[in-house]
């Protein structure tokens, strides 16, 4: 069993489903012979043919709309938005249709589709190539939002996303596409779409995060451990619907919570988590304010400043220390 990267795990999951389900097709810009600008679909057109892995005209609304149309007719299309910054022309079809067909027709039609997009910053890319707007999609009824943060989770969650009979926005943290390798077996085993993953157990503070920020969060955890602070790390992974139970349980134990998100703070997913903690099931556990370490409410800067924008290990540790100062 070879060790593979997160992006290779994506490719492996896509290949697995193309192999086992004739209704699965991939479509998007440059997904064919070129194998995607991040190589996520590398080799798939060659292996499965250009009728299964389809290069489309450059038109994201069209991709989204056709994907919805195909899904309602029984296909399981997996569309790619080349970068999350180019997903916005798809928003209308996601919120107005993908999330509504089942409800609107009282179950007559439904939308088993996936829209994949590399997301997040930190790779020195041009403007619009560093977006993290998962909250926008989490706010949409009828739509699941999933973000893997390791090769094995990418594989298992993407399988589940493709097989799920409802629409899934699958966001791939491109900054860690090739960060780590992991042994992942191509066994077709999916992971649940409604469960957080506890990456580290701890007792002093709960760190909640997802996507590429798991990297800084885990690094911060290591540093905190050196200071004798034991942090529990939760990878939310399934952003919507949100598994608050795992978070409640952890905070019941630690009494403290720091949420780490790359997206701008205002109305981000971190707000939903903190808001739940402020309600009945969380509040009585809290021994300290809930801190959010987030991107600033500014435009993600071009890359000379992007590091300054993104939550750093230092910023995480600072927030943890603030919650620990409270006794």
């Amino acid at each position: 069993m070879a060790k593979i990267t997160l992006v290779e795990a994506v490719t492996m999951a896509l290949a697995h489903e193309l192999e086992h389900d004739p209704d699965v097709v991939i479509l998007g810009e440059d997904v064919g012979i070129n194998g995607g600008v991040f190589r996520a679909t590398a080799g798939l057109a060659q292996r499965f043919g250009e009728d299964r892995v389809i290069d489309t005209p450059l038109a994201e609304t069209m991709i989204a709309g056709m994907t919805v149309g195909m899904a309602t007719q029984g296909m399981k299309p997996v569309a790619e938005a080349q970068f999350m910054g180019f997903i916005y022309p798809m928003v209308d079809h996601v919120i107005s249709h993908a999330g509504r067909f089942r409800n609107r027709t009282r179950g007559r039609m439904h939308c088993p589709l996936v829209i994949r997009a590399p997301y997040g910053g930190g790779i020195h890319a041009p403007e619009h190539h560093s977006e993290s707007t998962e909250a926008m999609f989490a706010h949409m009824p009828g739509v699941r939002v999933v973000i893997p943060s390791s090769p094995s989770r990418a594989y298992g969650l993407l399988l589940a996303a493709i097989r799920n009979p409802d629409p899934v926005i699958f966001l791939e943290p491109k900054r860690i596409y090739r960060l780590h390798k992991e042994e992942v077996e191509d066994d077709g085993e999916e992971l649940p779409l409604d469960m957080c993953f506890v990456l580290r157990e701890g007792k002093d503070v709960t760190l909640v995060t997802w996507g590429a920020m798991t990297k800084e969060t885990l690094e911060a955890t290591d540093k905190l451990a050196e200071q004798g602070i034991s942090a529990e790390v939760i990878d939310v992974a399934t952003i919507s619907p949100l598994d608050m139970d795992t978070i409640y349980e952890s905070v019941a134990k630690t009494g403290r919570c720091v949420i780490v998100q790359e997206a701008p703070k205002n109305c981000g997913v971190g707000a939903e988590i903190a808001a739940n903690l402020a309600d009945s099931q969380g509040l009585y556990s809290l021994q300290a304010p809930v801190k959010r370490v987030a991107g600033y409410d500014t435009v993600m800067p071009l890359f000379r400043l992007e590091k300054k924008y993104m939550p750093s290990v230092d910023r995480i540790i600072k927030a943890v220390n603030e919650t620990l100062e409270v006794s």
């Binding site: 097709v25 009728d51 489309t56 005209p57 038109a59 609304t61 069209m62 989204a64 709309g65 056709m66 994907t67 919805v68 149309g69 195909m70 899904a71 309602t72 007719q73 029984g74 296909m75 299309p77 209308d92 079809h93 107005s96 249709h97 089942r102 409800n103 609107r104 027709t105 009282r106 179950g107 007559r108 039609m109 439904h110 009824p141 009828g142 799920n164 009979p165 409802d166 409604d194 619907p241 949100l242 598994d243 608050m244 139970d245």
Partner: protein, 358 residues
């Protein structure tokens, strides 16, 4: 300077406003009087239904309703040219097409009566429901057509757009996709001259709307949308081409919206009554009736009987609509996902409690 490509847009009419066959090559349907009478009856039923729906809205028994008055030929003509296994992706007023395909009048009423069950209709299960965000349905139809193509099925998708909607990117991208993928798709622009209050000339600087298809290299044609025979003929040709791998067609059907945009609109604010009166002279139903009568295929007596039958059918549909039991509050939750997520399950429980105690 060399000319590298040339195009033209043709206009098809078979039945003059006076109900006379014009031109030289009448299509087979022009003499298939049994079929023509069936379609005529459906056009009339659609119109009777339409008047009733507006009346229901006026008396508070229906929500906002979009009338199809004046569009009966293009709607019924499209429906008649389609096969059951084709897919229809409408906007919101193509009842004539839908009735032909098996959607029940009571279902149309349920939909405009604010009940999702109307869209779980008796028409083909693969047909799309009404679509409110303008032009999005055109891309869904392109996706359906793509499915047929990938599966090697001899099926086509038909989708409708208004003169207004033909300005929107979704429609324009659908045309482009139809050309680029050679999709089995027919895109019908129902040009009824108005998009709510915005007249056709403000939508586009082109002489025709059909020429939008030229952009994508598609056969593109204008048809008299008040002429059932012409609409049927043009659709029939386009559909046969689509099903047999010949790719997509853009059809502009010229008609006129004789009603307000919807019951929420008051067209007298923005368009002169004379224009409407003038347009009425070209309307599709009397035209076809004249043709049938002049061929001794229809009589005043038959007309009277038809109107009575239609009224009875519509009344029965209204009765069925009004006696439909109320939807359950839990319906809101139960069709969101195949499996109800835990957070929604909690909200569902809470809603039930509020319902019972509230």
């Amino acid at each position: 300077m060399t000319t590298v490509a040339s195009f033209s847009i043709d206009y098809v009419q078979h039945l003059s406003p006076e109900g006379q066959l014009v031109g030289d090559k009448a299509p087979p349907i022009a003499t298939d009087f049994e079929q023509l009478k069936k379609l005529y009856e459906l056009m009339v039923l659609t119109r009777v239904f339409d008047a009733k729906a507006i009346a229901l809205q006026r008396t508070g028994k229906l929500g906002t309703y979009a009338s199809s008055l004046g569009h009966e030929a293009v709607h019924v003509g499209m429906g008649a040219a389609m096969k059951y296994e084709d897919v229809f992706a409408p906007m919101y007023r193509e009842y004539g097409t839908q009735f032909y395909r098996g959607v029940k009048m009571s279902e149309v009423l349920l939909y405009w009566g604010g009940d999702e069950r109307g869209s779980n209709f008796s028409g083909p299960k693969h047909d799309f429901p009404w679509c409110v965000p303008i032009a999005t349905q055109n891309l869904h139809a392109a996706g359906a057509a793509m499915t047929f193509k990938l599966r090697g099925q001899e099926r086509a998708a038909v989708t409708v757009i208004g003169d207004g909607g033909s300005s929107k990117g979704d429609f324009l991208e659908a045309i482009n996709a139809a050309g680029a993928f050679k999709l089995p798709l027919v895109l019908v622009i129902v040009n009824n001259q108005w998009a709510i209050s915005v007249p056709r000339k403000k939508q586009s600087g082109g002489q025709t709307l059909a020429q939008k298809g030229i952009a994508a290299g598609l056969p593109s044609i204008q048809v008299d949308g008040n002429d059932l025979i012409a609409v049927h003929a043009v659709m029939d040709e386009a559909l046969k081409r689509a099903r047999s791998g010949g790719g997509a067609t853009v059809v502009e059907a010229i008609t006129y919206r004789l009603s307000d945009h919807t019951t929420a609109d008051d067209a007298s604010r923005y368009r002169p009554q004379e224009e409407v009166e003038n347009a009425r002279r070209f309307e599709p139903i009397s035209r076809l009736r004249k043709y049938l009568m002049s061929n001794n295929q229809w009589s005043a007596q038959q007309e009277n009987q038809l109107l009575k039958d239609c009224a009875a059918k519509v009344d029965a549909a209204v009765e069925e609509y009004l006696s439909t039991p109320k939807p359950a509050v839990t319906d809101m939750f139960d069709y969101m996902f195949a499996e109800l997520p835990h957070d929604l399950a909690e909200q569902r429980q809470y809603a039930l409690e509020m319902e019972n105690n509230g």
